[in-house]
């Protein structure tokens, strides 16, 4: 019943279609999206490459199990609306995931084509369908179940909370999202830049959710403006989903970190994305004038890549990344590392700053760095970087952006004493049901796992919604049966 007229032997001969993109020299100076999207003809050709495997392992690579083979089939029959519907069964934010998922580690990483040839461009196709749907205006909002009379609060408005809110409102619950900032979207609006994820896309999805009946309250810092207990006891919420992300910036703890010109990636990106400093003076928020300057970012993940490519777009003439391991270990999306290089970002691997230097007015002038070599693998399985004695050297710098990871924001936990956390301050939640130690409270996304990915946060939102729905309809609050005790545990007891 395949709609693909070509035999599998022929399909593998079709090369993976290339994503049209803005010319690197040009895009390095604007904030418009880098990737332009596949035109219909290329999407079609790409879809032809799928082998339509009996056991589509691609879906196993996807954290929410998107039915790739089935939506590809619908692309081949040009029924894009049905393709979108198929996708929405598992993934309510396809325009976003198609753009930002680390596909090479997920769906595309497991696609069988990738063993001998290049994997199917699943992310590109996902984006194609989502954008087609948006352009056609043919979005069918899913029907809403009759009102249940139950109230649910989602704390935070990142992908985890949005996904949960969307699912819960469809099931007939009365859902309110509480967000600390003035914009809805979490990292999608304050972190990931316009040139990678246009904010209009996030807004579109949020508007759709509003139409579905989700209520949004911005400017509410849960823990400060209102506590979880007050939400449940005074405001009548029957369940709460905490999805506050891992937004607390980490610094290096080296001398000179408070010099002017030293930013956390969160500050740099919030100024530019949330507050639109790249449009100063039309917008009031200023940002360091990077024109003609040398800017470095410390780190090798998506945040570091986003920050340095932002600096480039603000006019920096020399930009580089300082990363303490080798390029192989860089956690950023492969496509973005490639894009950054094309745009002129230099990557200094096996290097780490040990001190920032400044002038007498307190402005950054440079960094003293040290070279590293790779030693034994550490807990994460990556080889541990070890400093090389006496390898210090100096780099002159105007701005440095620290992007070495984030931690959990404690405002909810510190005001909710009966909410158990682990030793790093992340909320403890049962992996299957996302129930926390507190009756009626669930948690998911980065606040449980530590900084992860958009699609994992969405997966958590889904799980939470199902679990909350079950709790609200059965009224039963109990954690699942403990597994049969292991011998160690029995011996310890």
């Amino acid at each position: 019943m395949s709609r693909n007229p070509i035999k599998p032997k022929e399909r593998v001969k079709i090369p993976r279609q290339k994503m049209p993109e803005q010319d690197p020299a040009e895009r390095a100076h604007n904030f418009q999206e880098v990737n332009l999207g596949l035109p219909e003809s290329l999407a079609h050709t790409e879809a032809m490459r799928c082998l339509e495997c009996k056991k589509p392992v691609c879906a196993h690579g996807c954290p929410v199990g998107v039915k790739v083979r089935e939506f590809v089939d619908l692309v081949l029959s040009q029924d894009y609306k049905a393709a979108a519907a198929k996708m929405r069964e598992d993934n309510v934010l396809p325009a976003i995931t198609g753009r930002v998922c680390p596909q090479e580690d997920q769906c595309e990483g497991t696609c069988v084509l990738g063993k001998k040839f290049e994997p199917l461009a699943i992310g590109y196709l996902e984006r194609f369908i989502a954008d087609w749907e948006a352009e056609s205006g043919e979005l069918g909002l899913p029907p809403r179940a009759p009102a249940t009379g139950k109230k649910v609060a989602c704390v935070g408005s990142g992908p985890a909370a949005l996904t949960a809110a969307g699912d819960l409102v469809q099931k007939g619950h009365d859902v309110t999202v509480f967000e600390a900032l003035h914009e809805i979207g979490g990292v999608l609006v304050y972190g990931i830049p316009e040139f990678r994820l246009p904010k209009a896309i996030v807004r579109r999805d949020v508007d759709n959710m509003r139409k579905m009946g989700v209520k949004f309250e911005t400017d509410v810092v849960v823990g400060q403006t209102v506590t979880i207990d007050e939400l449940m006891d005074d405001e009548g919420f029957d369940a709460v989903f905490v999805a506050t992300g891992a937004g607390l910036p980490r610094f290096l703890g080296v001398p000179g970190e408070n010099l002017n010109g030293v930013y956390s990636a969160n500050e740099f990106l919030s100024r530019v994305n949330l507050m639109k400093a790249y449009r100063f003076p039309e917008y009031d928020q200023p940002i360091y004038d990077c024109k003609g300057r040398t800017v470095a970012v410390v780190g090798g993940g998506n945040t570091a890549l986003d920050a340095i490519r932002t600096a480039l777009r603000l006019g920096a003439t020399k930009t580089f990344m300082i990363y303490r391991r080798s390029e192989k270990e860089m956690p950023g999306r492969a496509e973005e590392i490639h894009h950054a290089r094309d745009e002129g970002v230099e990557i200094q691997t096996l290097t780490h700053p040990v001190e920032f230097l400044g002038n007498d007015k307190g402005w950054l002038t440079g960094a003293r760095c040290i070279r590293m070599e790779l030693g034994e693998p550490d807990d994460s399985g990556r080889r541990r970087p070890v400093p090389i004695e006496g390898s210090d050297f100096h780099i002159p710098l105007d701005v440095v952006i620290i992007a070495v990871g984030t931690g959990p924001n404690p405002l909810v936990q510190s005001t909710t004493p009966d909410l158990a956390t682990n030793k790093w301050g992340y909320i403890e939640a049962d992996p299957k049901t996302l129930r926390t130690s507190k009756h009626g409270v669930f948690a998911g996304g980065d606040i449980v796992t530590g900084a992860a990915t958009v699609i994992l946060a969405m997966g958590a939102g889904r799980t939470a919604a199902a679990s909350i729905h079950e709790y609200l309809t059965t009224g039963v609050w109990e954690l699942p049966e403990p597994e049969a005790p292991s011998e160690d545990a029995a011996a310890g007891a």
Binding site: A180, L181, H182, Y190, T218, D219, V220, V221, Q224, T225, V226, G247, L248, P249, F251, E257, N258, L259, N260, Y263, S264, N266, E267, S270, R271, L274, M275, K276, F280, P281, E282, Y283, D284, Q285, P286, Y288, D289, K361, G362, W363, N409, P410, L411
Partner: protein, 296 residues
């Protein structure tokens, strides 16, 4: 949207506002602040909650117009609305019965210190307030602070009102006179807070200052507000804004606060050149010039 219930100047360039913000009014404690944003293209700025009424659901703030956003704010009237008010943010002031508490407010710092003075008084302290200003007009909230204090000293740089001199002169006099001082809270310009810290340091008097670092989110997310306390970074928005004055690195604060001077001047000049186009962006702002035309 948050509507302005009352708006009146209490000194040149210093305006008091009452804002409808029931959630904030219900929760706030002395020493906490809000972050507000006037309109869509505006900045987020922190302003201390000077007072609140949980029943009515409103908060009071006192704003000194020094740059683009505060001057824009100060040109708004009762009936206008602003886009965002979030809070209460920061840790409440540490309030207990210390004995004799000296509360020092320099300029608009008086508005920031006022709620804590009230709380200190309530907690049983003998409250001595020192209000300072460059000149008579800039001494604000005197009546309110008198009501919350056992003794009030006023100093002006030019001697136009109260004692001629600085707030630290009044403080030094108390120390020299052998008055027992158990606690000092000093809020005002950085040089003033630094001077107070140096005045009390040799005497080992517990001294607290409220740091006005540049903020964005106010929730610990950006790290832009970091200050150096005993050589370690802390975030003023969540770890403060009050800190032990003897441990603060005021140089770091001064430098960091000057980081955007150029852009700030540019923004202010743009605003002053054409305030109407900015006011037109304020949600629900009614241009009074238009009213005048219609009526006239």
């Amino acid at each position: 949207m948050f509507s302005l219930l009352e708006a009146r100047f209490i000194a040149p360039d210093v305006k008091l506002f009452r804002i409808q913000a029931p959630r904030v009014a219900r929760k706030r404690k002395a020493g906490q602040f809000v972050i507000l944003r006037v309109h869509e293209t505006g900045e987020r700025i922190p302003i201390t909650i000077a007072d609140s009424d949980a029943e009515r659901g409103d908060i009071t703030i006192v704003v000194q117009g020094i740059g683009k956003t505060t001057k824009l704010l100060n040109s708004l009237e009762a009936g206008d609305s602003i886009l965002d008010v979030v809070g209460p943010l920061g840790k409440p002031s540490e309030v207990e019965d210390f004995g004799t508490a000296v509360v020092i407010g320099g300029g608009v710092g008086a508005a920031i210190a006022y709620p804590t003075a009230v709380a200190l008084k309530k907690a049983g302290n003998r409250v001595v307030s020192i209000l300072g200003g460059r000149t008579r007009d800039l001494v604000i909230l005197e009546d309110e602070i008198r009501a919350a204090s056992d003794v009030v000293h006023v100093t002006t740089d030019d001697g136009s009102y109260g004692e001629k001199g600085l707030v630290t002169d009044a403080l030094q006099k108390m120390i020299d006179a052998g008055e027992k001082i158990d606690y000092v809270l000093a809020i005002g310009p950085i040089p003033m807070m630094r001077a107070v810290a140096e005045t009390t340091r040799p005497h080992g008097i517990k001294t607290v200052v409220s740091l006005n670092s540049i903020m964005i989110d106010g929730t610990g997310m950006c790290g832009g507000c970091r200050v150096s306390i005993d050589g370690k970074s802390q975030f003023a928005c969540v770890d403060g804004p009050e800190f032990d004055a003897h441990r603060v690195d005021f140089d770091v604060l001064r430098n960091r606060n000057a980081m955007y001077r150029e852009a700030e001047t540019q923004a202010l000049n743009r605003f002053l050149a054409d305030p109407e186009s900015e006011l037109a962006r304020v949600p629900g702002h009614r241009c009074r010039l238009e009213d005048a035309e219609v009526e006239g």
